[in-house]
């Protein structure tokens, strides 16, 4: 029972990240398209609301963290420092990457949480 639950959690994190990435490729789709995919994943893979939230949150949050981190490293912080001065985050690219990840984490988590309640209602 516990193993299935862990497996479900891990699968939904991966699925969430994968589908969020997939819908993100198409610039014509809105940036929040992963809300829909996370919502559906949470309906299909039943978990407790808490687990659903963290699965969706970690899926998108880690995806955004990873992407931002890699892009920023390859860019040698040229743009992130400018944007972090502009936003304003005192020029800290670390803060900017963190905020990027947090936005993905929160929105992704909430979308999955909402989905999890559909099944249980």
């Amino acid at each position: 029972m516990k193993n299935t639950s862990n497996l479900k959690f891990i699968v939904s994190i991966l699925l969430s990240a994968l589908l969020a990435y997939a819908v993100g490729i198409y610039g014509n789709l809105p940036w929040w398209s992963f809300v829909v995919t996370n919502f559906i994943i949470a309906i299909i893979i039943t978990q407790t609301p808490g687990k659903s939230f963290f699965a969706g949150a970690l899926g998108v949050g880690l995806l955004w963290l990873g992407l931002a981190f890699v892009i920023d490293a390859q860019n040698q912080h040229i743009l992130s420092v400018k944007v972090a001065t502009l936003l304003p985050l005192k020029g800290s690219f670390v803060a900017l990457i963190a905020i990027t990840a947090i936005v993905g984490f929160l929105v992704g988590g909430l979308a999955s949480l909402t989905g999890s309640f559909v099944r249980k209602s």
Binding site: N28, W64, N75, I78, T100, V107, F117, K120, S121
Partner: protein, 826 residues
């Protein structure tokens, strides 16, 4: 049971997404849509280019007649090799869009009064100003003219437009330039009209100062009364070293402009006791007074190689992305290299395999105001030559983001659009109805001048190319491999009588109209002069024996020209390196004269200890505006402060800003008349201040400021001046601030706070052309690119790049060639 959490959770999710998908207000501006902006797959992260990224690419375009090869060098300069001229311009448009798309959009938005559309009501005053000035009207005249009369230029601009649009068509939404994402809007299709609008903007930038200056000068005259005005705003520049050497004989003029009868009273307002102050207003968009430039060419007789060297450095607002974009264009008809304008085809300042050219601003007055009397508020009729005459009308609709459209109804008179009226006024226009007449409104084939210069082979081609040039008037310098050098001031210049158009003119009387445009043959020109060089630095082009009036002295800075000519006269055996040193020279020829003049009046025994110390700092200064000098900061503050002490009282009490007299006026007075009556502070009753007293007051006042600066560690010139290259939005994070560079007003290296040499070029006309150049920016307009500001530090240090100008086979094999973009016809 779970329905409530579902609804709650859904509401929170939707709510958060909505907030992250909304532009939130921060002060007068708005934030980007944060969710979108931060999304690593769609937002700004997509603009963070890999530092190691290459630029190899293959582009298929059905519009092309043949294949085109573009090689990018290590500075990201494209070298375009095309078999057809139109293909070359198609590719130039494509590359401009690829590297400078947002800038192209933004600049034409400014020119056409469409900023409110993306930035909201905050920008409405700028938009209304440009609409009412007739920017769109002028671009329409040019478009119509070229479409009907000039098939070659139409094809050129069309090909360029198609290239921009080919890039746009394949541009994925996630790859939009950074600024579009920041401001949350999307680019539009390019059109030929946008190219003409951009060129209108250049006309405005270089001749539009009159749109503000004429009003302010009128109000200054009204405030002071004509007699005092005439004394303080004299056009007589004793130390002038004109572009055409003094004493050159001019041909008999074909037009003799006649001053209207009664204009002393009706227009100049001499002896008018009823002059009222309070009548003036300046627009906030006045182009920089220092928009100018240096250019010169030295003949083979003065160079080490025996071949001419040509130099050009246009002084403009320093921006990122830069106004300039370097390019080489090679087709079977020509091979040209230089700085181009993103927004326009061809090379604007550059060289080809036969010759080189450069430009400086002529500064001549080509924009006038006429005061209109409308019959009634409908503005359907106005009084002209003793009868009511019908106006035309023009409607300009300004779209405003998050608000309703603003409609400008502009009465069209025979002078031009009635820019100011009851609906549009500012403190300086004060309800007056003012029509604006401007050569910028006339249809112009300016693009063709550059098209032909790009292809010119010799002096005659150069002359024929520039003969088409109308606005903004420019000094075109020229040098060829065959050994000719020349300079000609060219444009549509009004044949003016003395002071015509300095002030607002009466609009009821046709005798105040322009009495003709000076024929091209009578525009100042000099070829292969005995002295072995030609030059210009925005000074008056001619001495007073020239038969036409040029405009007010404020439009013609004196001292850079003196500096350049002084140096060129003595230089011999010149190398390109010497010319680089001259372009970046920081010698202050104004201070050379002004410092001893000041010292004549300074009495150290009457000064405070601090002031004495500052004066010592100034006198021990080496007269170079180098970045690390303190003496120049002291000199500048003392001089400004003395000017304030002398003029401040006369200009005080005006509720609106007035024009300050030119520096040379005070300097000339100091040198010839120490009993200068204007020195008296008219605010102190019963006491007459002498110039000596005023200078010492000035020194003490300056010392107070200087001590503060000293405390903050800002006495060194570069620190004090704090030169910056600003992003077009002025956002500091996207700009380069506090650059370590000297120079300044009156200096050959004319770098001020936000203004200066925007493209430095030195061309040695040897068999294989040896050229150097750079601009303070980078080839990529993307703030996320390593090529965004590549040249800025090098530029600040006064260094140059050797420009690669080679035939295809040699360029392909060159070690500095890095990437290849292939354009294939479908």
């Amino acid at each position: 049971m779970r329905l409530l959490p579902l609804i709650a959770s859904a509401v929170i999710t939707v709510g958060l997404v909505t907030v992250l998908n909304t532009q939130l207000p921060i002060g007068a501006t708005k934030s980007p849509k944060l969710g979108y902006f931060l999304s690593p797959q769609q937002g700004f992260w997509k603009n963070a280019e890999k530092v190691s990224a290459g630029f190899d690419a293959s582009v298929v375009a059905g519009e092309l007649k043949g294949n085109v090869d573009v090689y990018m060098d290590d500075r990201l300069v494209p070298h375009i090799y095309a078999d057809h001229d139109e293909d070359a311009y198609f590719v130039q448009g494509y590359l401009h869009a690829k590297f400078r798309l947002w800038q192209m959009d933004f600049q034409t938005r400014v020119a056409s009064g469409r900023l409110s559309e993306i930035a909201g009501a905050d920008k409405l005053s700028i938009d209304r100003f440009f609409r009412r000035l007739g920017m769109v009207y002028g671009a329409e005249q040019t478009e119509k003219y070229i479409n009907e009369r000039n098939p070659v230029m139409k094809a050129t601009v069309d090909a360029y437009t198609a290239g921009v649009n080919a890039y746009l068509k394949q541009l994925a939404p996630e790859d939009l330039p950074f600024e579009f994402k920041l401001m949350n809007y999307a680019p539009e299709e390019w059109t030929p009209k946008k190219t003409y609008l951009f060129l209108m903007f250049m006309s405005y930038d270089l001749t539009g100062r009159s749109a503000t200056a004429d009003l302010q000068l009128t109000n200054t005259r009204d405030f002071l009364g004509y007699d005092l005005f005439d004394k303080l705003y004299t056009n007589q520049q004793d130390s002038l070293d004109p572009i055409i050497p003094k004493g050159t004989a001019f041909a008999k003029p074909s037009i003799t402009p006649i001053k209207p009868v009664g204009s002393d009273i009706a227009y100049l307002k001499k002896q008018d006791p009823n002059l009222a102050a309070n009548k003036v207003s300046a627009s906030p968009e006045a182009p920089d007074k220092n928009n100018g430039s240096n250019n010169w060419a030295v003949a083979g007789t003065k160079t080490k190689s025996g071949r001419p060297i040509l130099c050009s450095d246009p002084h403009l607002g320093l921006n990122l992305p830069s106004l300039w974009y370097e390019v080489q264009i090679t087709t079977p008809t020509h091979s040209t290299y230089g700085a181009s304008f993103p927004g326009s085809p061809a090379v604007i300042i550059g060289f080809n395999d036969s010759l080189a050219w450069g430009v400086t601003n002529a500064g001549r007055d080509v924009l006038d105001y006429y005061e209109i009397k409308f019959k009634d508020s409908t503005q359907k009729e106005y009084w002209y030559n003793g009868a009511w005459q019908a106006t035309g009308s023009r409607q300009e609709v300004i779209k405003v983001k998050d608000s309703v459209d603003v409609v400008e109804n502009i009465a069209m008179t025979n002078w031009g659009p009635a820019m100011f009226d009851a609906h549009y006024q500012n403190p300086q226009s004060k309800g007056r109805n003012l029509a604006v007449k401007w050569t910028g409104h006339d249809a112009s084939t300016g693009v063709e001048t550059f098209y032909k210069l790009n292809r010119a082979k010799n002096f005659d081609d150069y002359l024929s190319a520039i003969s088409l040039w109308k606005c903004p008037g420019q000094n075109f310098v020229f040098a060829s491999k065959s050994g000719d050098i020349a300079i000609k001031q060219q444009g549509s210049f009004v044949a003016r009588w003395d002071h015509q158009g300095d002030f607002i003119m009466p609009g009821e009387d046709s005798t105040y109209n322009w009495q003709g445009i000076i024929p091209n043959e009578e525009n100042p020109m000099i070829k292969n002069p005995e002295r072995g060089f030609v030059s210009s630095a925005n000074q008056k082009s001619v001495d007073p024996s020239y038969p036409y009036y040029l405009g007010t002295a404020g439009s013609f800075p004196l001292y850079r020209g003196i500096s350049v000519n002084k140096r060129l006269r003595t230089m011999n055996q010149i190398s390109p390196e010497d010319m680089q040193h001259l372009q970046t020279d920081n010698y202050n020829v104004f201070a050379e004269v002004a410092r001893p003049a000041l010292m004549k009046f300074i009495d150290p025994s009457k000064l405070s200890a601090d002031a004495q110390r500052m004066v010592k700092e100034m006198t021990s200064w080496n007269l170079y505006n180098n970045g690390n000098e303190k003496g120049i900061t002291v000199f500048k503050l003392i001089w400004d402060s003395v000017e304030n002490a002398v003029w401040g009282d006369e200009l005080a009490g005006s509720p609106i800003p007035l024009t300050k007299p030119e520096s040379f006026v005070l300097l000339d007075q100091m040198n010839k008349d120490s009993n200068f009556s204007v020195a008296d502070d008219i605010r102190t009753k019963g006491k007459v201040e002498t110039l000596k007293e005023q200078v010492n007051v000035g020194v003490e006042n300056a010392t107070k400021e200087l001590l503060l600066l000293e405390k903050e560690g800002k006495l060194e010139w570069a620190t004090f001046k704090a030169t910056r290259v600003s992003h077009l939005t002025k956002i500091p994070a996207l700009s380069r601030l506090n650059l370590p560079i000297g120079g300044g007003v009156n200096i050959v290296n004319a770098t001020t706070e936000a203004h200066g040499p925007s493209w430095r070029m030195v061309v040695h006309l040897t068999d294989e052309i040896e050229a150097y150049g750079l601009y303070p920016g980078g080839q990529s307009g993307n703030p996320g690119s390593v090529y965004y500001d590549t040249f800025v530090d090098y530029w600040a240090a006064g260094k140059y790049y050797r420009l690669l100008f080679l035939p295809k086979e040699k360029l392909v094999a060159h070690e500095r060639t890095k990437w290849h973009i292939q354009f294939k016809t479908a």
